[in-house]
């Protein structure tokens, strides 16, 4: 049975249109103009236990809205969500009991309390038994090094420290599903590394199912075997990252430095550029392997240096985003 099932999810907001100028403002005072915005149009997917899924899309695609619906904050306009077989619309409390949620943009911790006190309060709220709590705390401390920050008021924590606290807070009640909405936003390299290590570790040791929205493709590359790309409220890609790369950018580039200027051709490789002693080849992965190409060229001339380039993930995602657009 899938851990999360989403079927034909749709969410529309009503919003008041701000009218221009003083005249418009006066009009708005008496008769505000309403308009309907569709944030999520039609989204379906299902996620199995233990998966780490990257949920990505451009700004305003509907990522956060989906996460909020799955965690019971927002009510879908139509469609169905099941988390552990329970609908958050029907039984929110039952769903969130086994759910951890972290929003990178907004802390779930208590601003004026020390971090440790926030944990204490959460322990009570989730009614976590003492031994589970101390076991979880020990594990979190090991991965996230909480000891150094546990006595600091949350408002005094740096962004990276706060995020470590938020992650730990989300794991206190040992949830089996974790939603992370941009957990690495605005973090420095070290902090990002710590967060990624945490996600990996949790997933491996506890088989926690993780849904991760992010704009940092490093997160995706390092963590997610599967990605779901949405744009304008619909799913435009759902599959493994490798598959996506194979489909959108099924080629590689081979950069070879010779000792002298060379012009060697191969029927399966296109020469992109040839400047001085450096030649750049582009070839399809399914037509010829890099090894075979190198061996062939190496047989013709002496090679000084080699570099193999994959299409950059940024480019791939950009192509995927625009490919899914309706224009």
């Amino acid at each position: 049975m899938p851990v999360i099932e989403v079927k034909h999810l749709k969410k529309q907001f009503k919003s008041v249109r701000k009218q221009k100028g003083l005249k418009g403002a006066v009009k708005g005072l008496f008769r505000p103009e309403k308009k309907i915005v569709t944030a999520v149009d039609d989204i379906s997917f299902s996620i199995e236990r233990g998966e780490i899924v990257g949920y990505i899309g451009p700004n305003g695609a509907g990522k956060s809205t989906t996460v909020k619906m799955m965690s019971g904050i927002l009510r879908p306009t139509s469609g169905e969500i099941l988390v552990n077989g329970i609908s958050p619309v029907k039984d929110r409390k039952a769903v969130v009991k086994h759910l951890g949620v972290v929003f990178g943009q907004r802390t779930q911790l208590y601003w004026d309390l020390r971090l440790g006190e926030s944990f204490e309060l959460l322990k009570r709220i989730y009614d976590v038994p003492d031994e589970v709590y101390s076991e979880n705390m020990a594990m979190m401390d090991e991965i996230l090094d909480l000891k150094s920050i546990v006595d600091t008021p949350v408002r005094q924590l740096s962004l990276g420290q706060r995020m470590r606290g938020d992650l730990a807070a989300a794991m206190l009640h040992s949830p089996d599903v974790l939603f992370l909405d941009e957990p690495t936003i605005g973090l420095d390299v070290d902090a990002k590394h710590a967060i990624r290590r945490f996600i990996k570790e949790i997933n491996e040791t506890r088989k926690t199912t993780i849904i991760l929205t992010t704009h940092d493709l490093g997160d995706i590359q390092e963590l997610c075997k599967r990605i779901i790309i949405i744009n304008k409220g619909v799913v435009i890609e759902d599959g493994s990252l490798d598959e996506l790369i194979d489909r959108i950018a099924p080629y590689r580039q081979l950069v070879i430095d010779f000792y002298t200027e060379q012009h060697i051709e191969h029927p399966n490789a296109e020469i992109v550029s040839c400047e001085g002693s450096r030649t750049v080849y582009r070839f399809m992965k399914n037509e010829i392997s890099a090894a075979a190409l190198i061996e062939y060229i190496g047989g013709k001339a002496k090679i000084k240096d080699i570099r193999l380039e994959e299409a950059s993930i940024d480019d791939i995602i950009r192509v995927a985003y625009s490919g899914g657009s309706t224009e």
């Binding site: 907001f13 008041v16 944030a39 956060s64 809205t65 909020k68 965690s71 019971g72 904050i73 927002l74 009510r75 929110r92 409390k93 039952a94 969130v96 009991k97 759910l99 949620v101 929003f103 943009q105 907004r106 779930q108 208590y110 004026d112 309390l113 006190e117 204490e120 309060l121 959460l122 009570r124 709220i125 989730y126 009614d127 008021p153």
Partner: protein, 270 residues
């Protein structure tokens, strides 16, 4: 029962933590401890000056008015501890601060109110208690068994009426997406309707504050029974219980509104 214990333990811990958080800023606490009594002192002085000029207000003398004001201020202090969250809820709603409540396996309203009790309310409660005791002494209030029961009911009812009205008006933001300044709206009105006897106003005004915005039940009606005064509604006995009843009913209604509002809650979604 287990559920009740669970909820109580959360409430107790949050109150303790609120106390600690408050003690982190001792200067602010002392500041409020000085500034809050001043407003009651001002109110008290106003009553005194007016009564000195005109002797009685609708048949209430200064001592009786002090008693009335004491009851009003005490319920204010209590409501500040339990319901201050509602004063700022418009902003919380608009900025998506209530998301957090949905993520936890407890009742949303409980978390909203009890999850963040306001220890600073003590700075309102202390002057409230002092005024209340002063009022009771000046009218020589008899703490008989039935009077004590009535007083407790009236105080609980009054606190609930205040809180429920704040909550109801705060909830409008769920629909309107536009916050209103609740304490600004209500403090003056509550003062006006409970600092002076309602019976001195024209019947239309009395009607409004009795049935439409039932603010006068906070102190005026129960106090007029204790003081044996005439009021718009004459009942032989039990104004305090009616206050409690109105408080309870209003509170239940405000909970329902809060619930319905949360259904509307769309959060600030990005």
């Amino acid at each position: 029962m287990k559920k009740f214990r669970h909820y109580m333990s959360v409430a107790a811990l949050s109150f303790r933590l609120s106390m600690q958080a408050c003690m982190e800023y001792p200067a602010a606490f002392v500041g409020w401890l000085i500034s809050n009594p001043i407003q009651f002192l001002v109110g008290f002085a106003t009553i005194k000056f007016v009564v000195e000029e005109f002797e009685t207000l609708a048949d209430w003398n200064f001592k009786e008015l002090a008693f009335l004001y004491g009851m009003s201020v005490l319920t204010h202090g209590l409501s500040v501890i339990f319901f201050t969250k509602t004063w700022y809820m418009g902003w919380d709603i608009i900025h998506g601060e209530l998301d957090r409540l949905r993520l936890r396996p407890m009742n949303t309203l409980f978390q909203f109110l009890a999850g963040d009790l306001n220890f600073y309310g003590i700075t309102d409660l202390i002057p409230g208690l002092i005024l209340f005791i002063y009022g009771c002494i000046s009218v020589d209030f008899r703490w008989t068994f039935s009077n004590t029961i009535c007083m407790i009911c009236a105080l609980i009812g009054g606190t609930l009426i205040r809180g429920a009205l704040y909550l109801m008006f705060g909830c409008t933001t769920f629909w309107t997406r536009s916050p209103i300044n609740i304490s600004g709206f209500f403090q003056e009105l509550f003062n006006r309707t409970n600092m002076y006897p309602l019976s001195m106003y024209p019947r239309a005004v009395q009607f409004v504050f009795t049935f439409i915005l039932p603010m006068s039940w906070v102190a005026f009606y129960p106090a007029s029974e204790f003081m044996d005064k005439e009021s718009m509604i004459t009942l032989p006995y039990g104004m305090a219980f009616i206050t409690l009843g109105i408080g309870a009913v209003l509170f239940v209604i405000s909970c329902k509104i809060f619930r319905a509002g949360f259904r509307q809650y769309e959060s600030a979604g990005s």
